[in-house]
């Protein structure tokens, strides 16, 4: 079984898939990522699939599920480097990647992720402020 490292770099978790993943290794990776999110309290997750040249329905679904589950736990996720041939194949296969944010490369992905995290934090601050205001008004 292949074990893919999940790296924490400043506030982000970075996962680079460099080898062809079998189904079991893919599920293990999904588990590892969700565990790391809970453990490290990372603010964002980036998955780099530049080196992945075959994504079938299993792998596609796994990437989509990771993004959705991470979002539920808190951190926004971005998938970077999907090869054009892979994107075309996934669309033809019929797998909808709705809810998954993608970027062309690592650099653009990191910028986008930073923006997503900042937007989320702004939103949270506004909500907090509104809650406090509401509390003061009713007191």
């Amino acid at each position: 079984m292949e074990r893919i490292p999940v790296l924490k770099i400043s506030d982000f978790l970075i996962v680079t898939i460099q080898v062809a993943l079998d189904d079991e290794s893919a599920l293990k990776l999904q588990e590892d990522i969700l565990e790391e999110i809970a453990k490290t309290k990372a603010k964002g997750l980036l998955i780099d699939i530049t080196a992945v040249d075959i994504v079938d329905s299993f792998m596609g679904r796994m990437i989509r599920d990771i993004a959705r589950m991470a979002r539920l736990m808190g951190p926004p996720t971005i998938v970077v480097g999907m090869q054009p041939a892979v994107a075309i194949t996934l669309v033809e296969l019929g797998l909808k990647m709705t809810g998954v944010s993608c970027a062309l490369n690592l650099e653009k992905g990191l910028l986008m992720l930073k923006e997503m995290v900042e937007a989320k934090e702004r939103e949270e601050r506004t909500l907090e402020a509104e809650e406090t205001e509401g509390y003061e008004a009713s007191a």
């Binding site: 062809a20 993943l21 079998d22 189904d23 079991e24 290794s25 040249d53 075959i54 994504v55 079938d56 329905s57 299993f58 679904r61 090869q83 054009p84 041939a85 892979v86 075309i88 194949t89 033809e92 296969l93 019929g94 797998l95």
Partner: protein
């Protein structure tokens, strides 16, 4: 002319990876472009997974086709598993007996030029797919 290039035994998750990588390599050698390589390899990944999930074991045979103007690749995915009782149903989107997406068979059809399914209850299943060089 049909020339068999390789036969991959399919019994587990790692064999799925071996089969699809092998198909991709041959498709590349034959001159298929990146998108077609991805289409064929992905189709084989779906069919090989069906073998592992529903029939436990089987094989994937990769062949080169050279029939007049029709040149291309043929992949036969075959097992001696339980068979598919209703092929039309299995080919329809969303139909699954494995609690999955029901995407493998209908998705494969969209990725290849020709797809043939033979199956008999209790005997097994044979899916043949072809992609031609344009």
């Amino acid at each position: 002319m049909r020339q068999v290039l390789e036969e991959v035994a399919v019994r587990n998750n790692t064999d799925i990876v071996t089969a699809r990588n092998s198909v991709r390599t041959y498709a590349k050698q034959m001159g298929f472009g990146l998108v077609d390589q991805s289409r064929i390899a992905t189709a084989v990944s779906e069919l090989a997974r069906n073998i592992v999930v529903y029939a436990k074991s089987g094989k994937v045979e990769i062949a080169k086709l050279n029939e007049g103007p029709k040149k291309g690749i043929e992949v036969v995915c075959e097992d001696n598993g339980p068979g598919i009782p209703d092929i039309e149903q299995a080919m329809s989107e969303g139909f699954t007996t494995g609690g999955s997406l029901g995407m493998g068979m209908p998705g494969t059809k969209k990725l290849v030029d020709e797809m043939n399914v033979w199956s008999e209850a209790g005997k097994g299943t044979r899916v043949t797919i072809r992609k031609f060089l344009k």
